[in-house]
Each structure stands twice: as C-alpha cells, then as structure tokens.
C-alpha cells in the first residue's frame, strides 16, 4: 500500500475559513458581496498603460532577483519622503510577489524549530499558517473592541516566553480596521527591545488611514529599524491586487537571507508588474499621490456611510480608522458569526465574512468591506436590516 505523501505539518493546517463562503456565494445570482478583500477601483489607467508599453517594447525577460533597481530606488524615496525612514535600495529592499510572499519569506528566515511568533487575533488569515509552515508556533494575542482592537504592549509582553522570536504587527488591520497610535507603538517598541523580538510590520493598508497622525511606519521609531521588517505593496494603495506586487525592507543581513529563498523559489516578481509599480510611484511623487488620495477619499465617505448604517441597525461597531472594513458585533442577535453569515447569505443574499475566520477572538463579529459600490452597499444594508428584524 502506498503511503500518504503529505507532511503532517501541511495537513494539520486547515484551509482558509473564508473560502467556504466563497463556494456558497459563487452559486448565487444577485448576491451582494461585502466579503471582498480588495479595492473596487481598477488600477489607474496610466499604470496599466506603462505595463502595456513594456510588453510592446519587448520587455519580457527576468529582472534582478531583488527587483528592478529603478523600482527599489523609487520605493526608497517613497518611504523616506512619506515616513521618514531610509533604506538602501541596493541591499535593504526586496521586491516580492505580493506582500504575502514577503511575510512568508520573513517568517521562514527568522523562525527556528518551535520558535513562537506573536500575532493579533483577529488578524489576517495567512499569518498563523505561514508561521506553522515555517516550523514555528503561532501565538495569537486577542485584541479587544475595548482597546479599539489595538495590540497593547501589556498583552504582547504577557505572551512572551523564552521561545518568542518575532511579533507580527499588522496595522491598519484587516479585519478590524484598527490603527495604532504613536504612544502604543512606542510602548511596543520597548517590549520588542527588552525581549529582543523581530518585528514584522505589515503595512499594506498604510495608505488607507483615515485619521491624522496615525500613519506611522514602525521602523521609523527610534532604534526599531534594526529589528523590523517593513512589509508593504501596491495592492491596496494603488488598486493593484491582481498584479501581485509587494516588497520587504529591513536590515541588510536579514534581507540577504530573504532574497536567497526568493531567488531559489521565485526568481523575481513579474517584470510588467514591476514596471506598473514603478509608474505608480513615479507619477505619485510628481503629483502628490493624487490617485491614492482620490481613492482614499472615496473609501472614507463609504466608511462613514457603513458605520452610520450599523449604528442605525443597532449593531455596535468600532469606528475603523484604516483599511476598508467594518467589524461590527452581531452578538446581540444570539447567533454565532458563522450562523449569522450563513443565514444572511441564504435568506437575504448578502455576503459577509464571519469574524472567526480571522481567529477565535473574531467570534461575535462579521467583516464587511466598504470598497463596494455605494448603491449596492445601501441595498445590502436594507437586506441586513430586514434580516436582523426577522430574527
């Protein structure tokens, strides 16, 4: 008899909880989805055009492993100009296939067998599985509505053990929309220093921050650059999800090792995606990132409309200050997140994502995305309101 060729390390990780909803929703006509996790804008035309030109010019070859130097230089200028943190484009920046690859690489480089990695719960669905795949142990730290869903220095410190290796700090946060304050980040920096933790700061939603003064790159804090891998990308800020382009910045020796895995596993990110990203940053630098500002403005208006709708429905909802999600509590309905979302989908054809897909602490909440056409969104609210009243 043939043995199973599947490693238990892979088999033990469940598939993403988000996908099961996708299967039901996919079969339904005229369902309205608040379950998406990407912009509803199409990539700005000048960016698409740059990639088309590149193809027409016959640019169909590999790029350097770390990405086009011109792109890395633009990334360095962007981070310096907007966040006051400077990285050497030659040795401290790596262009990756989406921010997701960067997260995976960072975890694979830092994690020794059974090392613990602290991450927020609820949080983005990939972190814990990537820790496991890297041979480590994910340590979810619950974040609470009463703390505005922020990770606190105290809760992190309470989770630290002798085996703790790294901290994943993803703000603005998917699914809660929480952002960090300078005060809290400074306290977390102290904890990282005290316990010698690597900080993997996932800043993919940073451009979608709606409050002043809370757009902070963690590596810009005193002493933090040496122990931080800054992860960002083009998907959310420039509406480029399908292009799969992100980047990691960090200490030279750490990036050297990340690049090693990247060069063996990936070789390089798609050239056309890199050309598009280069165009996005260049034009942005020239015109004050007007594409990003216009999209942020549009999300911000819809954010307020969604928040207002949940208030009117009587669902308590923390005011999200970043990303494009609201994370209301549905506890008062007496249903679990899963029951709520399944019934809402079957009975009213509205797709939301159950909060527990993002970790145990997400139970009692649902994630709703306001990167959704306003009129469709308003229709969804009417259906949700009717659903809640039918319970």
């Amino acid at each position: 008899m043939m043995s199973s060729f599947i490693s238990p390390r892979v088999a033990q990780v469940p598939p993403s909880g988000i996908r099961r909803f996708f299967d039901i929703a996919g079969t339904m006509k005229d369902a309205i989805s608040l379950g998406v996790g990407e912009p509803d804008f199409i990539t700005p035309y000048h960016i698409r055009n740059a990639a088309i030109d590149s193809l027409l010019d016959g640019e169909t070859q590999y790029t350097p492993n770390r990405g086009l130097l011109a792109l890395r230089q633009e990334i360095a200028r962007y981070l310096e100009g907007n966040f006051g943190v400077s990285y050497d484009p030659e040795q401290e920046i790596l262009v990756t296939v989406g921010a997701s690859e960067a997260i995976d690489l960072a975890l694979r480089v830092c994690t020794r067998p059974d090392d613990e990695v602290i991450l927020p719960d609820p949080g983005y669905v990939s972190y814990a599985p990537c820790v496991t795949f890297a041979g480590g142990v994910p340590v979810p730290v619950p974040t609470l509505a009463k703390d505005d869903f922020r990770m606190t220095a105290e809760s992190i410190e309470a989770a630290v053990t002798a085996k703790t290796r790294a901290l994943i700090l993803p703000y603005p946060n998917n699914p809660t929309g929480a952002v960090m304050t300078m005060d809290e980040l400074l306290k977390i920096a102290q904890v990282a220093e005290k316990h010698d933790l690597l900080v993997i700061s996932d800043e993919i939603y940073m451009e979608l921050t709606y409050s002043d003064g809370e757009k902070i790159c963690f590596a810009s804090l005193p002493g933090m650059k040496e122990r931080t891998v800054t992860i960002n990308g083009f998907s959310k800020a420039f509406a480029m999800t399908g292009w799969r382009l992100g980047y990691a910045c960090g200490p030279r020796d750490f990036l050297y090792e990340m690049n090693k895995i990247h060069q063996y596993a990936i070789m390089c990110a798609s050239r056309q995606a890199q050309v598009g990203a280069l165009q996005a940053l260049r034009r942005g630098r020239e015109n004050g990132y007007e594409d990003v500002a216009a999209m942020r403005q549009s999300y911000d208006r819809r954010r307020r409309v969604m928040l207002d709708a949940f208030q009117k429905m009587g669902l308590p909802c923390f005011e999200p200050k970043g990303a494009f999600y609201c994370f209301p509590s549905i506890e008062k309905t007496g249903l679990t997140s899963e029951e709520f979302c399944t019934r809402l989908l079957r009975e009213k054809k509205v797709v939301c994502v159950p909060g527990d897909a993002f970790g145990k602490s997400g139970e009692g909440h649902i994630r709703c995305c306001y990167a959704t056409d306003l009129n469709r969104m308003l229709e969804a609210f009417e259906r949700m309101d009717a659903f809640i009243h039918s319970l």
Binding site: I18, R19, G26, G35, D40, Q297, L374
Partner: protein, 163 residues
C-alpha cells in the same frame, strides 16, 4: 483636507440625487451645514443645475447632434461675448465655447433631423453678422460624456469573497 464645499461638489457630481442626510454622514458635517453650503453654492451660481446623463440612443427620441466650428470677427469693445450671446440663445444650441486655435467658437447643436440641423446652420447661424465661416461635424457615436462611459457593460470582476 478638502473644504466642505469641495467635498459636497464631488459627491453631487458623482450622484446629484445623494440625499442631504447621506452627504452629512459622508463628510462628517451637520445636516444644517450641508444644507447651508449647498444653498450658498446655488445662490453664488457655483451649482447651476442638476440633471441626469441620458443615453438618448436607448430611447425612441429622434435626435441628431453636431459640433460646429464657427469663425467670427470679434466686435469692437465686446470681443466675442455679444456674438456668443446671439448664438447661445437659440434653443437648438446646447453648448457654446470660446476656443483657442484655428476657429473661435465651438457650438454644440441638437435637432430632431439632419435636415432641421442643416437648416439651422444655413438659415440661423451662418447669416449672423460677423460669422465668417462654419464647419459642421455630425456626432456618430457617443463613447463617453461627462465622465460617464456609454458603451459596454462594466462588471465587477472581483471574487465574491477574498481574504
């Protein structure tokens, strides 16, 4: 941060039927402030009119449109304004612009039939004093107008659920 007026204009420009209450929610301003700002902008003629963008091709209304390049002799002390005024008062005329370049006024005209439109040019526009020449081009197909694309369907290509 944009001024409240500018935010309101953007919202109305996207959908002029947006209720005041929703504009207040979107901008974080009070209902009274929003109402006042719109009222002021109407009085100052910043906002002139609220109208839908219509694809007449999908209705049974017979309609032809033309863009007419008009060359004129400017008048002493009045420049082009007096003559433009004589032109824009015709009901057939939908828009009039003073242009840089090889002609002076661009006149957008709408009529029910080709013949009616031709008669407008030959009997009303061309005979005007100081009009020295016209070149008429008919609109064959409308692709985009006022930022709205008229052709094809836009569909949401996103997956219904994604992380």
């Amino acid at each position: 941060m944009q001024s409240l007026n500018m935010q309101i204009l953007e919202i109305l420009n996207e959908d002029c039927r947006t209720p005041l209450e929703r504009i207040a929610v979107m901008t974080g301003a009070t209902l009274t402030d929003v109402a006042q700002a719109i009222d002021d902008m109407e009085k100052q003629h910043v906002i002139l009119h609220y109208a839908p963008v219509i694809n007449w091709d999908k209705t049974d209304r017979e309609r032809v449109e033309a863009m007419i390049e008009v060359k004129v002799t400017p008048q002493r002390d009045m420049g082009f304004d007096a003559l433009a005024g004589r032109i824009y008062r015709f009901d057939e005329v939908k828009s009039v612009y003073l242009m840089s370049g090889s002609y002076d006024l661009l006149v957008l005209v709408e009529a029910r039939t080709l013949k009616e439109l031709a008669l407008f040019v030959s009997e009303k526009l061309s005979p005007l004093e100081n009009v020295t020449g016209t070149a008429t081009s008919f609109v064959l197909k409308r692709y985009k107008q006022d930022g709205i694309i008229f052709v094809g369907e836009t569909t949401d290509k996103r997956l219904a659920v994604s992380p």
